[in-house]
Structures are given as C-alpha cells and as structure tokens.
C-alpha cells in the first residue's frame, strides 16, 4: 500500500526550522487564496457546477473540516464513538439564532456563548453517558442528537419547524465585510478557526490530556490502572469536541441567516463521522483531507444531480473496502518499534 504519510513525515523531519516555517506559511497563503481558485485558469477545474464554488468552499468544505477536526478529538483521539455530533452544531446555531434575533449582541459576542452552551451540553450528556461503554455510548449520543432536533422542532421559542429567520450577519472586522453573498470573508474566518484548532490539538496531543486520551483509546482498563482519571479526561475530550461543533454552528447560522431543524438531522452526524473515518481516524491531516473530499465530491458531481448521493455512497463503500484505515491513517510507529525489539 502506498504510504504517503510516512514519506511526508520523513521529509518533514529532515527539514530545519526555516524550511518548516516557510512551508507552513506557503500552505497557509495558498489555502487562503482558495476562494479565487475558481477564476484562475489553471485551477478552474475546481469549479463546481450549479452551486457557486466560493459558497461550496465555506459550506460544506471548510465547515466540515472544522467539525471533523472537532469530532476527531472524540472519536479518533479518545476512541469514544459519538453518533450525535450534530447536536452541538445545532446548539451553536440556535444560540446564534435566538440571541442574534432577540438581543443586540453581534456574532463575535455570541460566539463565546455558543461555545459555552455547546460545552455545557457536552458535559450534561457526558456525565451520564461517558460511564457507558462502546456501542451503548454510540446509541445514547445518537439519541441525544435526535432529542436536540426534536426539541428545536417542538418548542415555540425556537420557531418550531419554521426555524429562526433573519439572523444577522457578523459585523465587519479589520475592514472585511461579511454579507450573504460574499463568501471569501467567511472562508477566511473559518480557516483561522481551523488553524487554531490544529494548533490546539497539536498542543494537547503531546501534553497530558493527549497522552491520557491515547491511553483511554488503546485500553480503558489499563488506562484506569495507570491512574488516568477516565471520566475527567473523557469529559474533556467530549466538551472540547462539543465546543468546536458549537463554534461551527454559530458561524454557520450567522452566514446562512436562517436555520431550521431539518438542517440538523442524523445524516450530518454520519457525514462528519464518515469524514473522520474516511480520512484516517486520529490523524489530523487525514481527517482534513477526508472532510475536504467528502464535502467537495457531492457538489463537484452535481451535474448528475439525481444520483449524486448514490455515487457518493458507492465511492464511500469502495474506498472503505480498499483502505479500511482511511486515506492517511495514523502513525503505527509504536508497532514497528515493538517488532524491532523482538
């Protein structure tokens, strides 16, 4: 099997600091220029038919990458199967919707509230649910996702099936305006959030929480014996994942200006989970790649409109069978070392 990941890692390790910094900066600038790739002749093949390319870049691509990174902390890093991730996205979106229409707060002021409420929901769900194991956790989180949607559907405060309309766009920052049909600004904002998440996850991974998650993922019982406080670290992983979902929800609601319960179905949770597994659980770069592909593909093949979801399902099935560990799986260095020791 082609091993792009190890090849990439070895090239990266042979670089000095200068090369690394300039490489990262180049990548950031290139990704930042992505909204204009559609008009540039060399990269115009990226253009999506029917829907605007810049709109696709914001939702679903950037949004899915952000959420997949958040879910990756829960599923990939700590091995907790969460099938109701959409709930946190919905909580963020509804926080923005309700506070944005009833109070004078703007998006940037609501963002901390959205993140806070999502984290709180993560804690409330996690406290009873994280004591459960494996598939039971999966079904409880799945149920939680449905409960949030049904509550939004049936309460008058959330507008019921009609949802919340007239959510304000974010106010401009540093002269960058945010309007419904100006997508580049939103892309950059989400891109900055993605960079922050990447930085945060990288810090976590090499510190205590990251090591605790890794231990929990590999074997809960052994981790507990080694003195890892299971519930505390699982709750951390859960609520950090939830916070990222909530942040994505706030930006999403503020961009599309209208939210309804239909947008937060189980299918979204499944898609995000598919992004994580498809890209390579636990490996951030794989997850980013997987989310970009799975979000982009259905839009790129929109010209076969009626059967595009069918094609999507078939592609997902084939890739999962050919590369079951995902496109860029996590490192298996530990295993290699073990073999050498024998």
């Amino acid at each position: 099997m082609l091993n792009i990941r190890d090849k990439g890692a070895s090239i990266w390790e042979n670089w000095n600091r200068m090369k690394r910094v300039s490489f990262v900066l180049t990548v950031i600038v290139l990704v930042g220029l992505l909204p204009y790739a559609g008009t540039f002749p060399l990269t115009s093949f990226l253009n999506t038919p029917i829907t605007s390319y810049q709109a696709v870049l914001v939702y679903p691509i950037a949004m899915f990458v952000l959420m997949a990174l958040g879910l990756n902390i829960v599923v990939g890093k700590s091995g907790l199967l969460d099938l109701g991730y959409v709930a946190f996205f919905a909580i963020g979106a509804y926080t923005m919707g309700i506070l944005g229409t009833t109070t004078k707060l703007n998006t940037w002021e609501i963002l901390p509230f959205g993140i806070g409420f999502a984290m709180l929901a993560g804690l409330l769900l996690g406290l009873p649910a994280l004591r459960l194991r494996g598939d039971y956790l999966a079904i409880v989180t799945l149920g939680f996702g449905e409960i949030v949607r049904i509550i939004a559907l049936n309460l008058t405060q959330t507008g019921g099936p009609n949802g919340v309309v007239g959510i304000p766009n974010p106010p401009p920052i540093f002269g960058q305006k945010f309007e419904l049909n100006d997508h580049a600004g939103y892309f950059w904002i989400i891109f900055i959030m993605i960079l922050l998440v990447i930085w945060m996850v990288r810090r976590f991974t090499i510190r205590r929480p990251g090591r605790a998650w890794e231990a929990i993922r590999q074997d809960e019982d052994v981790a507990a014996l080694m003195g890892v406080n299971l519930l505390v670290y699982k709750l951390w992983s859960f609520s950090i994942g939830a916070a990222i979902g909530g942040a994505a929800g706030v930006i999403y609601a503020s961009k599309v200006m209208f939210i309804a319960p239909d947008m937060f179905t189980f299918n979204v949770s499944v898609l995000i989970l598919a992004c994580v597994v498809f890209g390579g659980m636990g490996n951030m770069w794989g997850v980013i790649l997987g989310a970009s592909i799975l979000a982009y593909l259905p839009e790129r093949i929109r010209f076969i409109s009626n059967s595009r979801q069918l094609v999507f399902g078939l592609v997902l099935l084939v890739i999962m069978n050919v590369r079951p560990d995902g496109l860029l799986p996590r490192k298996k260095r530990e295993k290699i070392k073990l073999k050498g020791a024998k």
Binding site: R133, V140, E146, I150, N154, D219, E220, L316, P324
Partner: protein, 317 residues
C-alpha cells in the same frame, strides 16, 4: 399533559403498543442476531426494512396484480395474497441481508480492521440502498392496496381487537417462537451461538465461519422482511425514508433488552412499543422519541448491559 387517557384508554393503548412492539421485535432481531455474532451494529438493517416495505407492495401490486384502489380481498385469495407477500418480502430482505454482509463486512472482516471502518461501510451501503429506492420511486410515497377489511373481533375492556392487530401479534409470536427454537435447539442454531461466544474457538471446532455469519444475516433479514410486511399491512403506505425511524426504534429496543440476546430483543421491543403508545397519548406524539431515549438512558445508567443483557466488551476503535 393528558393523563385522563390512562383511565379511559389504558387497555387499548396496551394492545396497540404490543402490536407495534411486535414490529419492533422482528426488526430488532436483525440487529441483535448480527450483533451477537459479529459484535457490530448492522447499520444497513434500517434500509433493509425500507426495501422490505417496497417489496411487499410490489408483491401485491406488480406480481399479483391487485389494483391499489381495489376492494379488500376475501377467503382463499386473501390468505394466499397475505402469505405470498409475507414470504416474498422476507426472502427479498433475507437475500439483501446476505448481500449487505458480502459487500460491507466480509472483506473488512478478513482484513481484521477496526470496527469503525465496518460501521462506515455499512452506512455507505444504507446510503446506496435508500438513494437507489428514492430514485426508483421518484421520492413519492407508495400506497399499498387494502388487503384486509378492518373488521374487529370485538372489544375487551375498551381494547379493540382489530384483525390486523391480532394478525401481527399471532404471526409475530409464531415467528419469534420458531426462531427461538431454531437458535436454541437446531444444529445451525448451535453454530450461531458458538460463533457469538468465541469466533476463534468455533473456527477450531470446524464451524464454517463465513457460512454461519451469512446465515445470521439471512435470518435477520427474514424477520426484518416479515416486520416490513406487517408494517405495510397496517399503515398501507411507505416511502424511501421510512427505514430510519423504524430502524432507530428497533435498535433502541435491542439495546434496551440487552443487545445480542434474542429474548432481550423480544421484551425490549414490546416494552418500547407500549412505552411509545403511552407517551404519545399522554405527552403528544411529537415527544415520543424523546421519552424513549430518556428511558433508554435511565435504563442504561441503572443496568448498563440492558435489561436482559450480559456485559458488552469494550469498544476498540
């Protein structure tokens, strides 16, 4: 909140709940059998139900040429049509179950990969199935002809023993009893139980693992198809997206009873059916899934392995 229904309709709700529960029982067997053998959630089962409901209508309309608006049937023709539709739907779903295993699970199982990869490939299969049916049916609901005249055997304490309710309860009990006997008494059933205890050891005992797993998917598909037939007979309409809610409820039922355990699925399904009926009568039908999930969380907190289940192994992703 409307507690007065408890006084007036108690037995009626119980009866309706048991009938609905039997549909859940039969679907949840599709989850619980597969879980018992593979320790995997068979996510594609919800779409197998959906295909089953379409198969039932196709058997009645396309193969037996009953017009959708025709009068209810009587006598021999009625019995023949019912049995044919039941068998047709069950067989289609059984074969579909085997195909699902071949396409979504077999290769990944041979590679010995993580469980989430199988989960995603099963989800991919369910996307393919539901999309294929959506395109086939043009997203329109499909109406089934009314086969049974809905006459009643009579009322006992306010509970109306309508023919379709009785049919589900009687036929469902027979199917469940037969399956229970099969798994607990026959040679093949013994093989299934052996595989669910230990794959490695059953292989050493000379059990053909692939065949037993295919058989499990086939049986799960059969009962799921039977449930799809009953569902269509009662509600008389289906659509490409009916699978999700039915599958979710049935899976919840399986977990409630203790997943991987046949009798657990039985009690879980009946309990869930009755619970759904009561919560929709008291709180309104929009809150029924919320109640169901709250009860599920409570049950799992008190007894994490479900009401009748044994402890589940730790998930390794």
């Amino acid at each position: 909140m409307n507690f007065s229904v408890l006084a007036t309709q108690f037995w009626s709700l119980c009866l309706q709940g048991v009938a609905l529960g039997f549909i859940y029982v039969l679907i949840s067997l599709g989850y619980t059998m597969v879980y018992g053998v593979l320790r995997l959630i068979n996510f594609a089962n919800s779409e197998v139900v959906m295909v089953g409901t379409f198969a039932t209508v196709i058997a009645q309309v396309t193969i037996l040429k009953n017009a959708t608006d025709s009068d209810p049937l009587h006598g021999f023709k009625l019995i023949y049509t019912l049995i044919f539709a039941l068998v047709f739907s069950a067989l289609i779903c059984g074969v579909l179950g085997v195909l699902v295993e071949l396409v979504a699970y077999r290769r990944l199982r041979a590679l010995g990969t993580n469980r989430l990869a199988s989960l995603i490939s099963a989800i991919a299969v369910s996307i393919v199935l539901s999309e294929a049916v959506r395109i086939y049916s043009h997203s329109a609901p499909l109406t089934s002809p009314r086969l049974l005249e809905k006459w009643s055997f009579g009322e006992v304490a306010g509970a109306n023993f309508r023919i379709d309710t009785v049919l589900i309860i009687v036929a469902g009990s027979i199917i469940f009893f037969a399956l229970d006997r099969f798994v607990n008494r026959s040679r093949l059933g013994k093989a299934i139980r052996a595989v669910s205890m230990s794959e490695e050891n059953s292989k050493l005992m000379g059990i053909n693992l692939n065949r037993v797993i295919s058989l499990t998917f086939f049986i799960g598909g059969l009962t799921t198809g039977a449930a799809a037939f009953f569902y269509t007979t009662v509600y008389e309409t289906t659509q490409f997206n009916v699978g999700f809610n039915l599958g979710l409820a049935a899976f919840t039922a399986a977990v409630l009873g203790g997943i991987g355990n046949l009798r657990g699925a039985f009690y879980g399904g009946i309990f869930l059916g009755v619970l759904e009926q009561f919560s929709s009568a008291i709180l309104g039908s929009q809150w029924k899934s919320v109640t169901v999930f709250l009860v599920l969380v409570l049950v799992l907190l008190i007894k994490p392995s479900g009401i009748f289940g044994e402890a589940v192994q730790q998930t390794r992703t």
